[in-house]
Amino acid sequence: MNTSLLLSQILNGVVTGMLYALMGIGLSIITGILNIPNFAHGAMFAVGAYLVYTVINALGNFWLALILAPVGVALLGLVIEYAGIRRLYAAGHDYQLLLTFGLSLIVTEGIIIVWGPVGMSQPPPPLLRGGVDLGITIYPKYRLFVMVMAGLLVLGAWLFFEKTRYGAIMRAGIEDKEMVSLLGIDIHRLFTAAFALGAYLAGIAGALTAPIRGLNPLMGVDMLGIAFVVVALGGLGNLPGAIVAGLMIGVAQSLVALVWPEASVAVIFAVMAAVLLVRPQGLFGIR
C-alpha cells in the first residue's frame, strides 16, 4: 500500500463524503419540514446528473449546465410539491410518502426511456481536466473542484439557515410547524420552498457527480439509501451532523474499496448499523 494511493483514496472519500453530506442536508430539509422521508430524493439527484449531460450536449458549456440543471431539478421539486404532495395533506403522510415513491419509479424508468439503460460518461470541462500535483500524489483537478464547490454549498446552506430570516423560519419549521403557522407564516409556501431547496441541493449534487462517477439510471436509487444513512446518523436538521456523517461513510467506503471492492457500498450501511448499535440515537442525537 503506497501513500500516494492511500491519500488519493482518502481524498476520494472526502469528495464523495461531501456529496453525501449535500444529499443528506437536502433530504433533511424536506423530511424535517414536510415530515415525510422523500423517496424521490435519489431520483432528483439522478435528474440533476442527466440534465447536466443534456445541457452540455446541447449547449456545449459545462458551467451553464451546472447552473441550469439544479434549477431545473428545483422546478421539478416545486411541481411535485405543488401538484402532488400538497393535494395529499388530508390523506396523511403515508400517502405523500407513497407519492414520492411512485415518482421515483417513474423517474428511474423515464431516464431509461429517454437516455437508454446503458451507463454513460461525462467528461469534466476542459478547464478542470488533468491533475494537480499535491506532492504525495497527483489528484484530479475536477475532484478538487467538487470538494471546494461542495464545501461552498454546505457553507452557503449553513449561512442561509443561521443568518437569514427565511433560514430561521425553515429551522423553526423543522422544530415546530404549528408554532410557525401561528406566527402568521404561510406554511404551504414554506413546504414548497423547502421541497424546492432540497431538490436544488440534490440536483446540484447530481450535476457535480456526473463527471466523477458517470451516469446510469440506477444512480438515484443507490444514492437514496445513502442519503437516508446520512440523515439517520447525522440527525434531522443537523447540518454539522450531516457533514460528519457524510465524510465518515465516504471515507469508509473509499478505504474499503481498496481492499474489498465488492463490499464498498454495503460497508456504508454496515457503518450505520454499527454506530446505531452503540448509539441508537445517531451520532449527535439526544437519548
Binding site: 423530511t31 415530515n35 415525510i36 422521508p37 423517496f39 402532488g84 393535494r87 395529499l88 388530508a90 390523506a91 396523511g92 403522510h93 403515508d94 400517502y95 410518502l97 407513497l98 407519492l99 415513491f101 411512485g102 415518482l103 421515483s104 419509479l105 417513474i106 428511474t108 424508468e109 423515464g110 431509461i112 426511456i113 436509487v221 437514496l224 439509501g225 437516508f228 444513512v229 440523515v231 439517520a232 434531522l236 465488492e262 463490499a263 457500498v265 454495503a266 450501511f269 454496515a270 450505520m272 448499523a273 446505531l276 448499535l277 441508537p280 440515537q281 445517531g282
Partner: protein, 316 residues
Amino acid sequence: MSRAWLAVLAAVVVLPLVVRHAIATEIWIFAIFGLGLNLLLGYTGLLSFGQATFFGSAAYVGGYLLKHYGTNVFLVLALGVVVGAVSAAAVGYLCVQRSGLYFIMLTFALNQMFYFTAYQWTSVTGGEDGMPGVPRPRLFGVGLDDSLAYYAFAAVLFLLSLWVMTRIVESPLGKILVAIRENELRAEAVGYDAARFKLLAFVIGGAFSGLAGVLYAMLFGIVPLEAIGFVFSGNVVFATLIGGSGSLYGPLIGSFVFIWLSESVSVMWQRWPLLLGVAFVIVVLFLRGGVVEAWARFWSWRAGRHVAPGTAGDAP
C-alpha cells in the same frame, strides 16, 4: 363462522376458476406478505419500508436449500419463517429504538444493505440474474408441479396465516400494539415496554414475510434480485394502504388490487415499472384515502369485530 371468513373461503375456491393459477397463487402469497406488514403498519402504526429484506432473505435461503439439497418442504417452510423472523429481529432491534421518520428511513436503509449484499454475493444469490432452478417440492410424496396443486398448497397456507393473524390481533398483544400506536407514552406509563413490543410486532411481521418469500420462490422457480429490493418493499406498503390498513382484511383487498394492477401493466410494455409508478401516483392522488377508506369501512362492517380502529390516513 363469520361472514368475512365465508367470503374469504369463497374467494379462495372461486379465484382459480377466474384467473390463471399462477396469478391466483401470487395473490394469496402477497396477501400473506401484506398481513405481516399490516401488523406493523395498521395496528402498531409503524411504517416499515423494508419488508422485502425478510421476504427476500427467506426466499434465497429456502430456494437455495430446495435447489441444492432437495430439502423437505415443511422444513423449508419452517426455515423460511425462522429466517424471516431472525432477520426481522436483527433489523428491528436497530429500528425500534428510533421513532417516526427515522424508523422509516432505517428500515429502508437496512433493506438496501441486504440488497447490495445479495447483489454482490453472486456465488450464492446469482446477483443481478437471480437464483433460478428452484424446484417445486414434494408434499407427502405428491409433486406440486401442477399449478392447481401448488395453488391449493399456497391457499391452505394463506388460510392458516390468516387464522394465526386473527388470533394475534384479537389477543392482548393486538390491543397492546394499538395502545402503543394510540399513545405510546401512556402505554409505557401503564406498564408496557414499547420498544420490546414493537420489536415483537416486527419479528412476527418478518415471520409472515419469510413464509411469503419461500412460497414465492417455489411458485416462480426463481428468486429474482428484486425480491429483496426496495420496489418490493414499496409494493407491499402500497397494497396494504390501498386495501385499507385499518382492518385485518385490508391486505387481502390490497393484494388483489396490486397484483391485478401489476399483471395488467406488465403485459403492456417492457418498461412496465413506469406504468406501475404512474398507477401508484394516480391511485394515491385520486383515491387519496377517501374511496379506499370507504371501501375499507365496508369490509370492516362485513368483518364485524375484526376491526382495528385507526385509519389509513393517520400519520405514523
